[in-house]
């Protein structure tokens, strides 16, 4: 009783797409979200290039979470953060990561 299933997820979700220079999705890319503490969350993109990072506390300033992407044969070119809307509960934070071959 009183276990984790008593507490449904709340808080910030980070999500977005990893795309190539032409805007095509990149599957199985590694996406990292690094916090100020140095602790890092790591996920891979789906077949449509989508990633989703589970809930972060609302105490965390999303601007301090650094999103990066990587895949063999690619290098990261841009990270585009959509404007962060202030809302309660917080809205998901969308960040797109662009890579090109090389």
């Amino acid at each position: 009783m009183g276990g984790p299933d008593e507490h449904p997820d709340e808080g910030l979700v980070f999500f977005g797409y990893v795309k190539d220079a032409r805007g095509a999705p990149i599957a199985s890319a590694k996406v990292t979200a690094t916090m100020k503490s140095g602790n890092t969350f790591i996920v891979q993109t789906t077949a449509t290039g989508l990633y989703r990072l589970p809930t972060f506390s609302t105490n965390i300033n999303p601007a301090e979470v650094v999103i990066a992407c990587a895949k063999e044969g690619y290098k990261q070119t841009r990270v585009i953060r959509r404007p962060i809307a202030k809302a309660n509960p917080p809205k998901p934070v969308e960040t797109e990561c662009r890579m090109e071959r090389g």
Binding site: T40, F41, I42
Partner: protein, 542 residues
């Protein structure tokens, strides 16, 4: 509940005495049938010699025939029992040729025979309504809940009382926590209201009781040996076999490390000292270091405990006062690679954190990968790689994590399936991390080299695997906390089968002895005060 029903609930089958003098060389065999089905496949037939703590079980084949291997049953007087859901033993008789004829009849009280998985599939309600019940089955079966006549208000009071009990409680030994578990009143009220719709508060159950199929085919090719503990209160949690073939276990509710000699049934206990008087007693994880010494995670007693197998002496590593609160709880310990850097990993459930003990100084360091993260997290199953970097399961959430031994930095890898609640884990020779996704009904593998996951569904819904062990053939062994079934699975071919255990068994940590041929599977019956050995007759699933 009447005594008869209670007895059946406890054993899951009926008992009947038959005295049989088997000759030394005679093989004990027989046939099982019922009026309804004729010859019956998949009936578990158990034999126990009068006065012995050892019960041997075999399973009938498609012709209804069963036989006990010659070596498993010494001559003597035997007591027989069966397990076949929906049926009970009506009579047994000796055939003219020395065989045993067992006749089953329809069970008078089917509800007393259901596993928690069968209750899950029988009860009406949504997945979300049923989901909180996976906490209840850590301590007892659902039959106990569903026979009550409580309305929602009374049920809420019962649930509130449940939050005062320690995780390491059994029906035989209930332990009260020093600090209540946190709970959300509205969630508890919601669960109470749901339970009042599926219990007997409005009269007999308005839903039909569904059952899982009996074992068939290769799932009948098995011999199961149960060793009863000398006291009903003993709760074997983690079991493992040492180089001499001895079975060692952690006792979840008392400060003992236990040892069983499977050859003779001899049992010995080694008491470790009380660390925190007045707190619940007992240990959860049992793990070995390279030298074969045993380490225990001391739960609410706090800290970790080492047992030197040569000196037969304990050493307690206490938490320092500033880290030790009434809520402190160490459920896991990982000494496997402590020879590399003199460090042993453990967890601090009260802080959603990990700790690392320096053996020489006795000092603990705290690691908080989820600090400021919010949400539900709880580092649980632990395993260390060759450099003593730690891999941990986030049982409260949906990720596995790695803590770098040198930098202390954490990497968190969410599992492909959300809300998976990874539980216990092991590492194979290639450094891959195998683990059970308890709430996702899956077993999974994380490859640190590729930073990628693979997941496999358990074949039966509501299995709730607690742990997984990969054997020398690359086959996976796992156990259900709810269906009394042991899952054997080949990740290469996707083939699987489930062996049914003879009694209600709250399966926790699983262990495979790779030195036997075929391999031998071991598990503790945490609620049933026994240690179980399962010997498959087939070396491989294929």
């Amino acid at each position: 509940m009447q005594d008869g029903a209670r007895l059946k609930a406890l054993f899951g089958f009926t008992l009947l005495l038959l005295f049989c003098g088997t000759g030394a060389a005679a093989e004990l065999r027989g046939h099982v049938s019922s009026r309804e089905e004729g010859a019956m496949e998949g009936v578990l037939v158990s034999a126990r010699r009068a006065g012995s703590p050892i019960t041997v079980t075999v399973v009938s084949d498609a012709k209804g025939e069963f036989r006990f291997p010659e070596v498993s049953l010494p001559p003597g007087k035997y007591e027989y029992s069966t397990r076949a859901v929906g049926y009970e033993l009506e009579r047994s008789a000796s055939g003219g040729d020395g065989t045993i004829q067992l006749t089953l009849r329809k069970a008078k009280d089917l509800a007393a025979q259901l596993t928690n998985t069968e209750w899950f599939i029988s009860m009406p309600g949504t997945t979300e309504q049923k989901r909180p019940l996976i906490e209840c089955m850590s301590c007892h079966t659902f039959e106990r809940i569903l026979r009550t006549k409580h309305g929602a208000g009374e049920m809420f009071e019962v649930l509130k009382r449940m939050t005062t009990y320690a995780n390491n409680s059994t029906l035989q030994k209930v332990q009260v926590r020093k600090v209540e578990r946190k709970y959300e009143e509205q969630n508890l009220r919601r669960l109470a209201a749901y339970l009042a719709t599926v219990n007997q508060s409005s009269g007999p159950w308005a839903y039909s009781l569904k059952t899982l199929p009996r074992p068939s085919g290769r799932a009948t090719r098995v011999v199961i040996t149960e060793y009863d503990m000398p006291r009903k209160t003993i709760a074997p949690h983690d079991v493992q076999i040492d180089a001499e073939g001895m079975a060692w276990y952690s006792n979840f509710v008392d400060n003992y490390l236990g040892r069983l000699d499977p050859k003779t049934g001899a049992h010995e206990e080694f008491a470790w000292p009380a660390v925190k008087p007045g707190a619940p007693t007992g240990a959860l994880a049992l793990s070995t270091d390279r030298d074969g010494n045993f380490w225990l995670a001391a739960m609410f007693q706090t800290g970790v405990v080492k047992f030197d197998v040569r000196k037969k002496a304990f050493q307690v590593f206490r938490l320092p006062p500033e880290m030790n609160t009434d809520a402190s709880q160490q459920s896991m310990v990982m000494p496997r690679q402590s020879h590399v850097d003199g460090k042993v990993w453990t967890n601090e459930v009260a802080k959603q954190a990990l700790m690392r003990l320096d053996i020489k100084s006795g000092k603990y360091e705290l690691f908080e990968p989820f600090k400021m993260m919010g949400g539900s997290h709880s580092p649980y199953g632990l395993v260390a790689d060759a450099a003593n970097n730690l891999f941990f399961m986030d049982f409260g959430g949906e990720a596995i994590g790695r803590i770098d031994a040198k930098t202390g930095q954490a990497m968190i890898y969410p599992t492909p399936t959300p809300r998976s609640r990874p539980r216990r884990t092991m590492m194979d020779a290639q450094g891959r991390v195998w683990f059970a996704e308890f709430a996702a009904n899956k077993v999974a593998m994380f490859d640190p080299a590729k930073e990628s996951f693979r997941e496999w569904d358990a074949p039966t819904p509501h299995t709730y695997p607690y742990d997984v062990f990969v054997d020398r053939n690359g086959e996976l062994w796992s156990g259900s906390m709810s269906s009394d079934r042991i899952l054997r699975f080949d990740p290469a071919s996707g083939k699987s089968l489930e062996y049914l255990l003879p009694r209600q068994t709250n399966v926790r940590r699983v262990f495979v002895d790779n030195r036997t041929k075929p391999v031998t599977f071991w598990v503790g019956s945490n609620h049933g005060a026994s240690i179980i050995r399962l010997t498959p007759l087939d070396e491989r699933l294929d």
